[in-house]
Structure formats: C-alpha cells, structure tokens
Amino acid sequence: MDRVYPEIQTNLQENAGVRRSSFLQRSRREAWVAFSFISPWLVGFLLFIIGPMLASLYFSFTDYDMLSAPHWVGLQNYIRMFTDDPRYLTALKVTFKFVLFSVPLKLAFALFVALIFNRNHRGVGLYRTVYYLPSIIGGSVAVAVMWRQLFGGDGAVNHILQWFGLTGTNWIASVSYSLWTLVLLVVWQFGSPMLIFLAGLKQIPSEMYEAAAVDGATRFTRFFRITLPLLSPVIFFNLIMQMVDGFKAFTQSFLVTQGGPLDSTLFYAVYLYEKAFSHFEMGYASAMAWILLVIIGLFTALIFKSSSFWVYYESEGGDKS
C-alpha cells in the first residue's frame, strides 16, 4: 500500500499528529475566549459581590465603626445578638410575622388574578398592564408618601370608613396595625409573581381541561387536580423568590413607618441599617447580615426538601403520591 499511495500515508500521519495537538490548543483557546466574554460580569461579580461579602464576614468578627480601624472581637457580636439585645429579637419576630403573612397572601392574590387573566377576553392586555403597574413603582418614596396619606389619621381610608359609619384610627402610627399596612403594601405589588403564574398557566395544555370536562369534572376539581399540580413548579419558584424578598424587606418599613411605632415594624434589614449607620456599629450589623443569610438559607433548604412531596415536574412523569 505504501508503495502505491505514499502521499496518502504521509498525509494521514501528518494529519493525525496535527489534529492531536490542535485539539488541546483549540480547547484552551476556546476556554480563553469564553473567559474574556464573561470577563465584564466576572470582574463585577468579584469586585462588587464576592469582595464585599468576604469583607463583611471579616467585619462581623470585629467592632468596626467605620470611622476608625476595626478591632477583632471574635464571636462577641453573634453572642450579643441572641443574649443581650431585645430589639434584635423583636426584629426577628416582626420579620417572621411579616413573611408568614405577606408571602402566602401575595401569592394567593397573584394566582387568583392570573387565573382571571388567563382567558383571552377583549382588553385583557390592558388590565394585565394596569395590575402590574404597582410592582413597577415599587419601593419608591412617592408610594411611601401616598401610603402614609392613605392610612394616616386624616387619610382616605378613614374617610371611606366614615361613609359606612365606622371610625378608623391612625393606622400608620398604631402599634397594632402598622405592620398590616406594610403587608398590604407588599401584597398590592403582586404584579411580578402574577405574570409568572400567567406564563405557567398558559403552558397547561387545554386538552387536559377539555378531557376532564368531558369526564364530568367540576371547576374545583379541575383546579385542584389539574391546574395546581401542573403549576407546582411555578408555585415553587415564586414561593422561594417571594420568601427571600420578604426576609430582605427594607424600603417599605424604612420609608413609611421608619421601623416604628415602638418597633412594631422593625424589619430585620431596617434594624441592621440603624445599627450600621446610625449607631456606628458596622461590625455588629455585618454579623446580623450573615445570620440573615443563614436563616434564608435554612428556609430555602426546607422548602427544597419539601418540594419532593408537592412539586410535579412533567419531565419526570408519574404520580409521586
């Protein structure tokens, strides 16, 4: 064979050698290209997220007051939080209460409205936009001022109550009711989870509903046996996202009630901010931030663990109950 087709033989040999080395070269080159494409994000991530996180972890073991160099104090901040700071425990209580009520309420409303918008009536596009608007204007000062006006002693809500012969109180400045005005504010901004639910609903094939209707299933049965299970991955996603947001809530309390009155709306993040910037206790505040991370991580892990019992992924098929 060599005698007849020498060129082919040598060509094959050459190509084999070249191909082997260029494979390594190519993959290294490709990796380098990939890195340079993500370099803007990577630089930002390291500089603005990882860097400050590590700094904050360090500060949590110091008594850093921002005006002078930090001194190492070990676990003192963490111990003080749980043994010698009643306002910290208040902040935990308030935040848990807030999350416990605002998250399910918000999701329930979002799902309810998404179900309504899942029909293609005329003008439904306009209504969808309108219902989404509150979550766009979000945590702004303008909304806070408006909320204070609405629920103040002389506000619109009390005037409406008067038509029904009821006398309202100053909801914002009331120790018992102020937290609920903030829950209401957050629930009112259900637009984002609503849109996500809507997207999820649209993915449910209508043949299922038709088949069920033919078999005589009522609306309730169809909702609980078809809609909810097929929507469960979306519910799972929204639950996690809204829960994390709930724990981190800050602007609503900071702008509307400033954590008061009497710490009845002292969100964790608001207390953290006060400690860091008003009391010059940045070290203590950093420790608070890391505890919050642990708390959110714990709850997220719990929800993930529970998901195998109630979340059905179509791709996995089958009934898990």
Binding site: W32, V33, S36, F37, S39, P40, V43, D65, M66, L67, S68, D84, R148, G152, G153, T169, N170, I172, A173, S174, V175, G260, P261, L262, D263, F277, S278, H279, F280, M282
Partner: protein, 451 residues
C-alpha cells in the same frame, strides 16, 4: 468561527468591559449637588501651587430655605475668591449622618462639614476633625468679638473643633390669642414645671375638645429639667448616665398623668408629625403651644400665618445656681482633618462667621450669629420673627449656665430616650418600666466609651 472573527470578537468584548468600567467612573464625577461626592473629583481638580484652582466640598443639612440661602453665600464667596470653587452637598437631617459615616469610612469627608453637637464627640474621638486653635491664633479665623458662651460648645478638651454658626435655645412658642381665650397670659420667663401642668389643665378645660397640649418629650427638654435639679445627664467620663433614675421617673410620671387625662396631644399624632414643622398642631390651631428650638420660630410663624409669642420653657422651682438653660450651638462648621486645602476651608469658615454680607443673606436662619459685629449689623434689618428670636436669646442668656458636653453615642442615646417616651405615650410601659428600659439601653451604648 474563523480565526480573525474570533480575535475580533474577543477584542471587542474586552473593549466593552474596559469601557464600561471607565465609563462608570467618569459619570460619577459628573454628578454634583445632592449626590455623594466622588473622591476622585476633589483630588483631580486640586493641584499644587498657591494660585491654582482649589475645589472644596461643603456639606450641610436643612430646609429648602436654608439651602437657597447657603448656595447664595457660596456664590458670594466664590466671587470674592475666584480661585476657589465650592461643591455643595445638601439634603435633610434624615440620612445626613449615614452619608457622612460612609464618606468617613472611605476617607473622603467633605472639606467643610456642618456638624452637630450630637456627633462632635464621635468625630473628634476618631481624629476626623481639624483643630482650629492655630488658625484662631494667627487670625485666619477671627473670633475676636465672640463671647466665650457662644464658642464654648465647640471645644473638646482644650482643642476647638467646631465653630458655632447658630446659637439656639429651647423655646416654648405659644399662641397668645388662644391663651387669652383661656384667660391666661403668655407665661413669663421663670415659670415652673408645676405652673406648666396647671396651665395645661386650664387650657384644655377652656379651649375644648378640638385642642390638646404639646408635651416636651425629647432628651434635650429632660436635660434642662435635670440641670435645674443640679444633675448632669452623663457622668464625667461619658461612660454612663450621670443622674439618679428617680428624676426620670418623676419627669415621665408628669407626662404620663397628662396623657391619661387626655390633655396631651395623642401619641399617634405626635409620632406622625415628627419633623413635619409645617403641619404641627399649633399651625392649625389644634394646640396653643409648641416646644421648639428658637431658630425654628421663623419657619413656624411663616407656616402658621399669624404672629406667635416666644417664651422660655419651664424652669425648676428655686433652681438658683443650677441653671436649666444653656445656649446651644444649633449647628457648627468643622473642617475635615484630611482636607487637602485646610487654609482655604478655614478661610470659608471665617467668611461664614464674620462677613456682614454673607450673614445678611443667611439672615440668622440657623440661629443667632456668634459675632457681635454681625448681630448688631443684622438686628435692624430683621423682620418681626427674626427680632423675636434675637430678643429671646438675650433673655435666655440671663438664665443660662455652661454648655453640657455630649460624649460619643449621644445619637443612639437620644433615640433610646424617644423610644422610651413613645412607649410611655402608647401606654405600653409605666414610667418606672420606661425609665428602666432607657437606662439599660443608654448605659449599654455609653459603656462603649470606656477605654
């Protein structure tokens, strides 16, 4: 993808990332006014040499009226000193100190900072402020016609860290018409806390259900009360409270009884109207009195749209030499110890304090000017409200003792006091419990000053 295409796209990606990083930097520098000043712009504009362009940063808090006046004064200074520009940074009291703390952490505090007594100790303890003494000695900062009483509040030890730019004292502002309706005269200076309680009851009786009395519930009012009893708020080292708890319990009991008798404005209204001067009850004739700092009479009268009277707050019966009153520096000007242009900054402080033209523009909105020359020059030009304020300070001087020191941590201590008083108002704590809560929190904060 061909080789050249690949290299081109890699180069483009790198260019975009570099460009965006640089772009972010420069847009920050372009912003001015109310935003936090970027550290670069100050340093870039300031180069060496005596007649080179100098750029100073100056931060202050206040109302819109104050902002307008201060900006005009800056313009005036820049006109007289063409090689100096001043970049202003202003806003409300809320958030002012948070911004300063962040700037301090970054080592770029403004060259000139409006300072408050509450934070002076904190900032001097961390060596963030310039000592003015050498500048006073060489007359760059001329304090020759300033009475010691006006300047003493700016000393920490024997170093002068802050120049008083507005003398102030606590005042009781009353509506003489409403008092007349209750057959009462405007209280004369020297009336006591017992007199006040009596008047409050009479006013509530005669003026009816739509009217309530405003209480004096801040830490500062309590400090006047303590001083009249011969006590000090803090101990000498500033490491703990320096008075017997029973004084606080008595003070709180006085207010508790007025709350329970529904004579005082309900706590919910007090809380929601905090820092909203234009909507205080006296403006809408829902209260016949309003305790305030004396420099706020001008804005309050403007909001009320009618003339109001100013008198002292109650003093302690037979207080003798334990003077309740003191002349408080309402705000100070300090210079950052890290300023790159200390001379220029001190020159501006001197201008602010001594220039007749500048003070005509400022019109004592921050309080009484400390320079006698300036006061005498301003007095004839003042309107009725302004004259009231000046006369008031003259009267208050007669009842005043030394300025009490404020150790680091006064901010959190004042917060804790307000929360304890709020708890009292909401009926959540008894006077004893509220006093206990305050003592625990305040002493915890002050204990950090040890060593």
């Amino acid at each position: 993808m061909g080789k050249t295409m690949k290299m081109f796209s890699v180069a483009a990606a790198l260019a975009v990332s570099m460009g965006s990083l640089l772009g972010c930097g420069s847009t920050n520098n372009a912003q001015s006014g109310a935003d936090t000043a970027s550290s670069d712009s100050g340093k870039a504009a300031s180069s060496g040499g005596s007649n080179e362009k100098i750029e100073l940063h100056f931060s202050w808090w206040g109302s819109q009226d104050r902002h307008d006046r201060t900006l005009k004064v800056i313009e005036l200074f820049e006109k007289q000193n063409p090689n100096i520009t001043i970049k202003p940074e202003f806003g409300g009291w809320d958030g002012y100190w948070d911004k300063r703390a962040t700037q301090a952490a970054g080592g770029n505090l403004p060259d000139i900072i409006q300072m408050d007594k509450k934070y002076l100790a904190e900032y001097t303890k961390k060596n963030l402020l310039l000592d003015f003494n050498p500048y006073v000695k060489n007359k760059t900062l001329d304090l020759s016609d300033v009475d010691k009483a006006y300047i003493s509040g700016g000393y920490v030890g024997d170093k002068l860290y802050a120049i008083n730019i507005g003398a102030n004292a606590l005042a009781e502002i009353v509506d003489p018409e409403m008092y007349k309706k209750a057959d009462l005269d405007v209280p004369k200076p020297g009336y006591t806390w017992e007199d006040f309680v009596q008047q409050a009851k009479t006013l509530k009786e005669k003026l009816g259900s739509g009217v309530t009395i405003q209480g004096m519930l801040d830490k500062d009012y309590f400090e006047y009360y303590l001083r009249g009893h011969g006590q000090t708020f803090y101990n000498k080292e500033g490491t703990a409270l320096g008075f017997d708890k029973k004084y606080l319990v008595d003070f709180m009991t006085m207010w508790d009884q007025l709350y329970k008798a529904k004579i005082l404005t309900p706590i919910a209204d007090v809380v929601s109207l905090r820092d909203h001067l234009e909507n205080l009850p006296i403006v809408h004739q829902k209260a016949p009195n309003q305790p305030l700092w004396s420099n706020q009479i001008v804005a309050l009268e403007k909001a009320a749209g009618r003339p109001l009277a100013m008198t002292l707050i109650p003093i302690v019966k037979n207080e003798g030499n334990n003077k309740s009153y003191y002349i408080k520096p309402g705000q100070f000007l300090s210079v950052s110890a890290n300023s790159k242009h200390k001379d220029a900054a001190v020159k501006f402080v001197d201008f602010f304090t001594n220039s007749l033209e500048a003070n005509e523009i400022l019109n004592a909105e921050r309080g009484i000017p400390i320079s006698k020359k300036v006061r005498d020059h301003l007095y004839p030009k003042l309107d009725a409200a302004g004259k009231k304020m000046f006369d008031f300070i003259e009267t208050a001087m007669k009842y005043s003792g030394d300025v009490p020191p404020s150790p680091p941590g006064e901010g959190p201590v004042a917060d804790a006091f307000q929360r304890a008083m709020d708890a009292l108002g909401y009926g959540k704590l008894t006077p004893e419990q509220a006093a206990d809560q305050f003592f625990k929190e305040a002493n915890q904060t002050l204990a950090k000053n040890k060593g």
